[in-house]
């Protein structure tokens, strides 16, 4: 999946776009002399305020607009060539989906354009619908979908060809926090599998969490570029994270720090609102509280917990055909065909999606009890899940553990 001929997944050379007025005079300079280089297998955060030229750049990359000057390359070539556009997944700023098609027909249509064989297409459509939490709504017309639901289908269509490069324009707009969180996890997982992602957003929290490198665009020009750590780490401050401490211990620490001549500021850490929101909803779900309607919207995570088979293996593995541990019920045929399409990824690494939390979030009270054999299979698996969001969240509060990190600057690019 990684080409040897070019180290850049995306490369632009003094890319410029000027929109002329009716008389042909330059009216708007949307992008100016942009030299963007996105390495293969990185998540690149493409940031900037509204109208800074992000979307215009993406449209030039995808040949939806022609550059006034300069050139852009994807995998070292032009997206005009089907060999290259076949490796791209694109989600535009809004989900421009045919309103008269159903969700399933939509994915089928795009799958056909990619020339996917019928069996693979069918399998992928079901997996993707399940992944984006719309498996029950596959036969509903897109016109009846809410913005967030259409966004999920938009994301699913961008993944149908198992792309090497994902170009995503505001992928989380209109999505609820759980959906956002799930998508962010998905990005990390995709990057782990060798994919490249160009993430264009002005929701900074999203970018901060997942991106390897970021670039900030303003007025069509690149203002700053670098890794998240490089850009955000404050070299002259330290932050300490501990469990609950006694007043005496605090006094001692204060004394030590002031003997170093450094100012100290002690306060209780705050949850991020995102984490807090997810915790509240998870708790409500666990208590099986009644909800009207929103079940559909929050069904996003339902894809993993719905079927025990899926729970054990990663949905992405199913998509790309590389199975770290092959599920017993996985059909042989599609497995074989799919595996020829992309080389297997790191066989040793277990899947890292947040099954624990997702399970808790999505276990539906109306669901019929699972067959006993499968339930038995499922139970012992739970503790083996390595990275659990809940663990992650709880760890912050649990006593006894101490972490010392360098604090990160709060991004404030709107004023950049």
């Amino acid at each position: 999946m990684v080409t040897t001929e070019n180290q850049y997944a995306i490369e632009t050379i003094s890319l410029t776009k000027i929109f002329p007025d009716w008389w042909g005079r330059a009216k708007v300079i949307a992008v100016e002399d942009l030299n963007l280089q996105v390495l293969q297998n990185e998540i690149y955060g493409f940031l900037g305020p509204n109208g800074s030229g992000k979307t215009t750049t993406i449209k030039m990359l995808l040949n939806l607009l022609h550059p006034t000057k300069g050139a852009s390359f994807v995998f070292g070539g032009s997206v005009d060539s089907p060999a290259i556009s076949g490796r791209i997944g694109y989600l535009p700023e809004e989900s421009y989906l045919y309103r008269y098609l159903t969700a399933r027909e939509t994915l089928d249509f795009y799958g056909r354009i990619f020339g996917l064989p019928a069996d693979i297409r069918k399998a992928r459509i079901e997996t993707l619908l399940e992944m984006v939490g719309l498996s029950g709504m596959g036969n509903r017309q897109i016109a009846t979908f809410s913005k967030g639901m259409a966004r999920r289908i938009g994301l699913a269509q961008a993944l149908i060809n198992d792309p090497d490069l994902l170009i995503l324009d505001e992928p989380t707009s209109g999505m609820d926090p759980m959906g956002t969180r799930q998508i962010k996890d998905l990005f990390v997982e995709l990057a782990r599998r060798g994919k490249t992602i160009l993430l264009c957003s002005h929701l900074l929290a999203d970018v901060e969490d997942v991106c390897d490198r970021i670039g900030i665009l303003y007025g069509g020009r690149m203002q700053v570029e670098g890794t998240v750590r490089q850009l955000l780490q404050q070299k002259d401050e330290m932050q300490m994270r501990t469990g609950q401490l006694s007043g005496r211990a605090l006094e001692q620490i204060k004394r030590i720090v002031s003997s170093e001549g450094s100012p100290i500021d002690i306060e209780k850490p705050m949850d991020k609102l995102e984490s807090f929101f997810i915790k509240v909803v998870a708790k409500a779900r666990q208590e099986k509280q009644r909800t009207s309607g929103v079940e559909a919207g929050t069904g996003i995570s339902g894809f993993l917990a719905e079927k025990p088979v899926v729970q054990h293996e990663n949905i992405l593995d199913k998509l790309v055909g590389a199975h770290p541990q092959k599920g017993p019920e996985e059909p042989e045929k599609s497995d074989r065909v799919e595996a020829t399409k992309s080389p297997p990824v790191s066989q040793t690494q277990p899947p890292e999606a947040d099954y624990g939390l997702l399970q808790q979030l999505t276990r539906q009270k109306t669901e019929a009890p699972l067959p006993s054999t499968e339930t038995v299979q499922k139970e012992p698996e739970k503790p083996s899940v390595k990275k659990d969001i809940l663990d992650d969240l709880i760890r912050k509060k649990s006593s006894g553990s101490t972490e010392i990190t360098q604090p990160e600057k709060k991004e404030d690019t709107e004023n950049a």
């Binding site: 007025d21 995808l62 022609h66 535009p92 421009y96 045919y98 056909r112 354009i113 269509q157």
Partner: protein, 459 residues
């Protein structure tokens, strides 16, 4: 190929879910059977059949043309307007494949709908004689003149001969100084031509006129149930008192009379008719009248005992059956399909650079020009020299690009008169309309679309 097919399927789904398609389908489903019941024509079975098929085919053609125009101009322009195209052209599909896919989708829809409705029309047409209480003679007439597929051979005027005679007359008049001075040569010649032509055509009382047809090949000519048809119209030098002409016709191998009565082998049929003038008439004789070498003669005798005026039989035509109604009907439907495909090509080609409302307007204009193109070409052909120059430089190439849907390109006329649409004619029409005119427009559209910035918003 797979991407063309994917787009075609999508376009088909889009078209079928559009309201206009539902309206057209519903209209035709209601109107066709209704028309078969209420239409009567001139009261005879033949008249009823002719009126019904003429209106039925006309209606199917018109509604499907409008539907095709609407969908073909809507599908691409709507994709552009609603930006659906962003998610399509960024996938491994070339721009021309997208256009071909859309075109294929519309053609499939046309084939589907045309197939369904022409089948309904065909069924109704076949059903009408069964449920109508008509006398046997009318049923025979309907079978002979409607449920058939006939080719006509027209007699041609010997134009050179008439021209020569006109010139001769002119010279005679000139030498005797009888030429009016205020008349131009062209005008005198055209009048002389008309006079001479009339002399050739007219049959004075007591005289006989003969027409010869060669190489007439009819299948099963020996079968007494196989007929040939003589079609004609009477004009008279002076109107007869009852507006009627009494004609004595002979059809057969007339050469036999010259060789002597003893040598008559093939039958010669005598037909006596009394019919009103200025209306087309037709009579049938068994096909065994044709001689073995394909020769057949028709003679008309203007008897002094019956008529007092010179009679001019016009538009004389010999018709004979070459195939069956069903095959001919199928070809008529194919001719409508050629029309629909051409409109689809125009609609899609136009929307590669025009917005929906403009494209739809242009398309409808083209359609209506197509419906009257023969007339327009004829009319403009007769204008003066200066205007003619402008016309031939500017307008003619433009009109040439436009389709022709009327005159000989209108399938209704053939079906109503029970005349054969020949495969060669159909193939030439299709080739010329689609592969020359259509392809030219399609290539232009593809070229424009290839370079188009699809994300560009019109200011």
């Amino acid at each position: 190929m797979h991407s063309i097919w994917a787009v075609a399927r999508n376009t088909l789904a889009q078209a079928l879910r559009m309201k206009i398609a539902a309206v057209v389908i519903l209209l035709l489903l209601i109107l066709l059977p209704l028309m078969s019941m209420v239409m009567d024509g001139d009261g005879t079975l033949l008249g009823k059949l002719q009126t019904f098929t003429s209106y039925g085919l006309g209606l199917i053609s018109l509604l499907l043309c409008i539907l095709t125009i609407a969908i073909s101009t809507y599908t691409l322009s709507n994709d552009l307007k609603c930006k659906y195209i962003f998610l399509v052209v960024t996938k491994p599909i070339r721009r021309f494949e997208l256009i071909l896919g859309k075109l294929l989708g519309i053609i499939l829809l046309d084939i589907l709908l045309l197939g369904i409705f022409s089948a309904i029309l065909y069924g109704c047409t076949r059903l009408i004689p069964k449920i109508t209480d008509a006398p046997e003679s009318q049923k025979f007439q309907a079978n002979a003149e409607f449920f058939t597929s006939r080719i006509g051979i027209k007699t041609e005027l010997a134009k050179d001969l008439i021209n020569n005679r006109a010139r001769q007359r002119y010279n005679e008049l000139k030498s005797s100084n009888q030429i009016p001075e205020d008349m131009s040569y062209a005008r005198i010649m055209s009048e002389l031509y008309v006079q001479e032509a009339m002399k050739v055509k007219r049959v004075d009382p007591g005289q006989t006129k003969e027409w010869d047809f060669e190489d007439v090949r009819v299948k099963n000519a020996d079968d007494p149930n196989t007929f040939i048809f003589v079609r004609y119209k009477y004009q008279t030098a002076a109107p007869p008192p009852d507006e009627k002409v009494y004609g004595l016709w002979q059809v057969g191998d007339l050469r036999q009379f010259k060789a002597g009565a003893a040598k008559i082998k093939t039958p010669v049929y005598n037909v006596e008719r009394d019919e009103v003038i200025r209306v087309t008439h037709e009579f049938a004789v068994p096909a065994n009248a044709i001689a073995e070498d394909g020769y057949i003669g028709i003679s008309f005798f203007n008897s002094t005992a019956l008529n007092q005026t010179a009679i001019i039989p016009e538009e004389l035509e010999l018709l004979y059956q070459t195939g069956n109604f069903t095959a001919n009907y199928f070809r008529a439907v194919l001719m409508i399909l050629v029309r629909l495909v051409f409109l689809a090509v125009i609609g899609i080609s136009l929307t590669t650079w025009l917005s929906f409302p403009v494209a739809v307007l242009v398309c409808i204009t083209i359609f209506f020009v197509g419906l009257t193109n023969t007339f327009i070409l004829d009319a403009i052909g007769g204008v003066g020299a200066t205007a003619g120059m402008i016309y031939s430089i500017l307008l003619k190439p433009l009109l040439w690009l436009l389709p022709q849907f009327d005159g000989v390109y209108n399938p209704n006329g053939y079906i109503v008169a029970g005349r054969t649409i020949q495969w060669t004619f159909l193939a030439t029409t299709a080739l010329f309309t689609l592969l020359v005119k259509g392809l030219l427009m399609l290539l232009a559209g593809m070229l424009i679309f290839r370079r188009r910035e699809v994300a560009r918003v019109a200011a």
